[in-house]
């Protein structure tokens, strides 16, 4: 009986912590969040015209855009032509996509995407539409808990299977009202094809695994 009691107690504590975190997030608290300790002020200045002096990440809500969204940095590991390299690049690319949803800035994914990726271009287009005319996106953050490079492919083209989990998306109009009904959160499998050249990796194709 003792082990089970301790498990219940632990679950309860975790539950309480989660509640506290949720509350601070909802209340637009200025407390720093442990998830974003490495915000670069110079980099975020390109994304948001007036970063707050403390440069604390604040997700978007019905009142305003996200602030000080951490700018994804291409890791060294993503600069090699290997299975590990394409995995690191895929993780980076989806961070850049997540950044585009949260900020409307698609320049990082544009830089690392080839012209013939239909899905990639469609994603950029819809993000552009969602940020036009003073609109902004609430939610839309992407996480990729599983990234698995396909072994044995290459040398110039490699593939990775990526689990893409995205938060619910609301598009808010300039006056803060909803532009349309929110898009549900999603959890999907996708396949990314990238080619490696002197400039590094570039996404050449992307599709959902159906």
């Amino acid at each position: 009986m003792t082990p089970r009691t301790s498990v219940s107690a632990r679950s309860f504590i975790i539950g309480s912590l989660a509640t506290v975190l949720t509350l601070t997030a909802c209340g637009n608290s200025t407390q720093p969040q442990s998830a974003s300790p490495t915000v670069s002020v110079s980099a975020s200045a390109t994304a948001t015209p007036s970063p707050s002096p403390t440069a604390v990440y604040r997700p978007a809500d019905a009142k305003g855009k996200a602030e000080n969204v951490p700018v994804p940095v291409l890791p060294e590991a993503a600069k090699t032509n290997s299975k590990e390299g394409v995995e690191a690049f895929a993780r980076y690319w989806f961070q850049a996509l997540s950044y585009a949803y949260e900020t409307g800035d698609t320049s990082a994914i544009k830089r690392t995407t080839g012209p013939n990726c239909v899905f990639c271009n469609g994603l950029q287009e819809s993000i552009g539409q969602s940020w036009a005319d003073g609109k902004w996106i609430v939610g839309g953050r992407i996480e990729t808990p599983v990234v698995a490079g396909k072994p044995g492919t290459g040398p110039e083209s490699r593939q990775a299977t990526v689990q893409v989990i995205q938060q619910q998306i609301e598009i808010r109009k300039a006056d803060g009202t909803l532009y349309q009904e929110a898009t549900d959160a999603s959890n999907s499998g996708s396949q990314l094809v990238a080619t490696f050249n002197s400039d590094g990796w570039m996404v050449t194709d992307l599709g959902l695994i159906r």
Binding site: R4, V7, S8, S11, F12, G15, L97, V118, F119, G122, L123, S126, I127, Q129, S130, I137, G140, I142, E143, P145, V146, A148, K150, Q159, T161, Q163, V164, I165, Q166, I169, I171, T177, L178, Y179, Q180, E181, T183, D184, A185, S186, N187, S188, G189, S190, Q191, D205, L206, G207, L208, I209, R210
Partner: protein, 313 residues
């Protein structure tokens, strides 16, 4: 002239705006945006990928690939603290499952989880139910009622009173030897609400393939094509499901429709039923006749004793 045309265009725009505003969002004056990773991928019709059943590799889907549900689901008991032990004292504030009928026992709340099938060791996220309400299981041993349903759902599905396709032929009931006879099926999606092991199970049966027997030893399929009716002026044209009889006589035409199914337990996600169900339609008789065409130089006034004229054997 130009003003009139502009005015007309203006009116058209206004009309379409009224239409979309009424259906979608009373405030919106702009078209809906397809936003989100999965939604964009589905709507763009970007090339899809599948897990190859033979090699297990992720490969490009063939052109004729019919998308199945890419997700897998599981239900977690809300009061579960580890895989084996059930804590009867659940945390306060959780969803309650009141008895469905007075005098019955209350149910056990469950949280449905979803993850993509194609990803190994995926992260599971909460599945969002249509009504956002609780999902409940009503059983003495709620932890294994879903596996028990999963084990029998395939045979339960095959025994459902699924209405088989309506079968028709053009021309009918008489057709001609050597001509294209258009034979087609009409099957519809059907929904069933049944009780399995005390749970309310909603089943959707969808026709996916057809196997035609033409009654003269020839058959077609299984094919995804149900075929369809032709306007009378086009009878005799070849269609995807038409057949040419080489003999005269009466033939029994038949079609067997293959249905796929999904099932949902007590409002949970629609899960694929393994396998398929075959449902045969009653056969239809087609009489195949021959036609003979002869040309004559005279009519019956010029040559009253000619072949085919009245009174001539």
């Amino acid at each position: 002239m130009r003003t009139v045309r502009d005015l007309l265009i203006g009116s058209l725009v206004f009309l379409s705006w009224v239409g979309s505003a009424a259906s979608a969002n009373a405030e919106s004056t702009e078209p809906p945006i397809t936003i989100g990773f999965r939604k964009s991928g589905v709507s763009l019709g970007s090339e899809n990928w599948i897990r190859d059943p033979q090699s297990g590799e992720i490969v490009r889907a063939p052109l004729n690939h019919v998308s199945d549900d890419p997700n897998q689901y599981k239900a977690e008991l809300q009061c579960q603290v580890d895989d084996n032990a059930l804590d009867k004292k659940c945390l306060p504030g959780q969803v309650r499952c009141p008895p469905r009928e007075p005098g019955e026992k209350p149910g056990t709340p469950v949280i449905w989880k979803v993850a993509p099938k194609a990803v190994s060791n995926p992260t599971w996220t909460d599945w969002k139910s249509g009504n956002n309400g609780p999902s409940c299981l009503y059983d003495q041993k709620p932890e294994d009622v879903l596996p028990r349903i999963a084990a029998r759902i395939e045979s339960d599905f095959r025994n459902l009173p699924v209405k088989a396709a309506d079968l028709a032929a053009q021309p009918s009931p008489h057709t001609l030897k050597g001509a294209e006879t258009n034979i087609f099926a009409n099957a519809v999606e059907q929904q069933f609400d049944v009780t399995i092991l005390g749970q309310r199970v909603h089943i959707v049966a969808t026709p996916v393939e057809y196997t035609y027997g033409y009654g003269d030893g020839n058959s077609l399929g299984p094919t995804p094509f149900a075929g369809g009716p032709l306007p009378e002026a086009e009878w005799g044209q070849k269609t995807r499901t038409s057949h040419v009889y080489q003999q005269t006589g009466d033939f029994q035409v038949s079609v067997t429709t293959t249905f796929r199914g999904t099932y949902s337990v007590n409002g949970g996600p629609n899960m694929r039923i393994p396998g398929t169900g075959q449902f045969a339609s009653p056969s239809q008789r087609v009489s195949v006749w021959r036609s003979i065409t002869r040309n004559y130089a005279d009519n019956c006034i010029v040559n009253p004793r000619g072949e085919g004229c009245p009174g001539v054997p």
